[in-house]
Amino acid sequence: MKRDWGRADQAVRVGPRSAAVLALVSVAGLMMFIWPLLVRVEPQSMQHGPDAPFVFMGVLPLLIVIVLAELSEGGMDTKALAMLGVLSAINAALRPLGAGTAGIETVFFMLVLAGRVFGAGFGFVLGCTSLFASALLTAGVGPWLPFQMLCSAWIGMGAGLLPRRITGKAEIAMLVGYGIVVAYLFGLLMNLWFWPFITGVEVPYHSGHISYVPGDSVWENLHRFLVFTLLTSTAGWDTGRAITNTVAILVLGPAVLATLRRASRKASFGVLPTFGLPRPDGRLTGPLGLKD
């Protein structure tokens, strides 16, 4: 089997051009997440440092919109569309299950499994639509939404890019490992983005010791950030998320993977249905209603 890029049987095909757009958006998006570590401020432009995050809050949604338009540019299969919708609904239903109980985040394991089965492009779009739909349902639209969408899109995409050959128990082990890594990375990135907002930016009249200091060296700020995130969220939220992912993938993983694969086979993405033999002139005779 060839590489994942543009495999014909994938629910959402990622051609070389879509891959380029995805990569560029990921680079720009990542910079918007880790900006507190990147900022190098000249003394005279000190007051412009803290303006940047407000600009990013406006720019990131536009980037997500562009990449989604590019991914669906060739026109999406209706089966992929319906599958996206239904899986997003399931994710949106899973999400409030964990809300309120410290760190039990139930949205990711389904994202990982679906990305694994349906491929990287589908995983990316599913990450975006799941979080968007759940935000609409639970009225959680806010400045954090684009950041959460991009993060979970990466999670779904990464799951689709894991090596294909591994199967059986080894596959579950790999997915569990991925789930744990992703749980901590998600916490780290979301914290990093929000860190300067919650502790305040270091300014002459206040030097909180875990605050962000614009213009300080990367290592200084990274050290401060790691202490902040260890103190506030690693023990509770991130570990809770990692445990939820592990348990959910171990217990439900094999069965969910089998169910999703069965659905994927039944949907037979990328295969144009024909009645009997193709006509001699090579044209197709129209879509065949799926037998159930």
Binding site: F56, A69, S72, G75, G200, V256
Partner: protein, 365 residues
């Protein structure tokens, strides 16, 4: 324009409410003056109470208020816990807790000054106000109608989200059905087993449903790939990639103060414009008629203009009178309020009087 028809009860276009709320949020991001921020909060709250329906998303406005309160609280609380002794006016001296070596430079508790607490309060209030403004948009704009007004390039993704929103209630029904079937069979078992025995049938049911839905969408012409010639697609792709390259350079230059300034703002804005042009050409392939498209009448214009006006006033006054928009934290004093920004913010309350009331008779579409 006759006033009688203007004030006929109807639901406004959701984009108008979003423009209004974003205008308020942008205005809030320009100031840390607590009087102004309080006025913005009051304006948003008043309009929400005056013009919301009793749909579930409208009732969630309270959640945003709680969240805003939590943001302010944590901001101030962190100043207490992680030391905020900078400044002249020390309020309390708490006992300091020493920390191990790896947490070098971090202090727990200790002296707390009025300046640092006030700084935390101002910054927190600004963020909380922005969050509440977005909450107001959520409460006033019907999300389903907003999805209907999606730009054509996002047609597919929008359809997927609409499918998600309409499948969502069916999941609960599916869970009930599976549980009833289990009870009839007298199934017991351990907790994890029960989880699997409910989750998997529900999932399988939902996936089967999605294939049936796809078949019925196919037969109604949904998701058909339009015909676009290769050159047009090449232009679309090139525009998107060039635009995104520009955005990458712009973002980097914004963050790195040592690169020339002309690489920052202009590249970011230019890249976005080019990318959005690509987005528009990508939408050209989708040619579909809309069933009952959302109306954009005078009332929508009024709402949107009110929001934009608030943002514009605060942008212009910040260059004239920056001290009152961002009260000083070095010399403690009562923040002053000048007339111009206050009147500007109060323009935002006009939609509560100048718009038709929402139509509560009909079930929201």
């Amino acid at each position: 324009m006759r006033t009688a028809t203007y004030f006929l009860p109807r639901e406004l276009h959701p984009a108008a409410w979003w423009l209004w709320a974003l205008g308020l949020a942008v205005a809030a991001s320009r100031t840390t003056n607590p009087w102004l921020l309080g006025t913005i909060l009051a304006v948003a709250g008043y309009v929400v109470v005056a013009r919301r329906t009793d749909a579930p998303w409208a009732m969630a406005f309270r959640m945003y208020l709680y969240l805003g309160a939590a943001i302010v609280f944590f901001r101030v609380f962190f100043r207490f816990v992680f030391g905020g002794a900078e400044g002249e006016t020390i309020l309390v001296r708490l006992p300091e807790i020493p920390l191990p070596e790896w947490a070098a430079g971090i202090r727990l508790l200790g002296a707390v000054s009025a300046e640092s607490l006030l700084g935390g309060f101002y910054d927190g209030l600004r963020l909380a106000t922005m969050v509440v403004c977005l909450g107001a948009a959520n409460a006033l704009a019907n999300p389903k109608r907003l999805l209907k007004a999606m730009p054509p390039a996002l047609y597919e993704v929008g359809t997927a989200v609409i499918v998600a929103l309409s499948v969502f209630p069916q999941l609960a029904e599916s869970v009930v059905r599976v549980r009833r079937a289990r009870k009839l069979r007298g199934g017991g078992g351990k907790r994890f087993h029960v989880l699997r025995a409910i989750m998997i049938p529900v999932l399988a049911d939902a996936l089967d449903r999605s294939l049936r839905l796809a078949a019925s969408m196919d037969s109604r012409g949904y998701g058909r790939a339009g015909m676009v010639d290769a050159r047009k697609r090449l232009v679309t792709g090139a525009l998107m990639i060039i635009g995104l390259l520009g955005v990458c350079v712009g973002v980097y230059a914004t963050l790195d103060g040592s690169t020339p300034r002309y690489l920052a703002g202009p590249f970011l804005a230019g890249g976005l414009v080019v990318g959005l042009l690509g987005f528009r050409t990508a939408g050209a392939r989708v040619q579909r008629s809309r069933y009952r498209p959302g109306q954009w009448n005078l009332a929508e214009v009024v709402v949107a203009l009110c929001g934009i006006a608030v943002a514009v006033v605060l942008f212009t006054t910040s260059s004239v009178d920056p001290t009152n928009l961002n009260p000083s934290l070095i010399i403690l004093s009562w923040p002053m309020l000048s007339w111009a920004p206050l009147c500007g913010v109060l323009v935002g309350v006009l939609p509560a009087f100048l718009t038709p009331v929402p139509d509560t008779e009909k079930v929201p579409a």
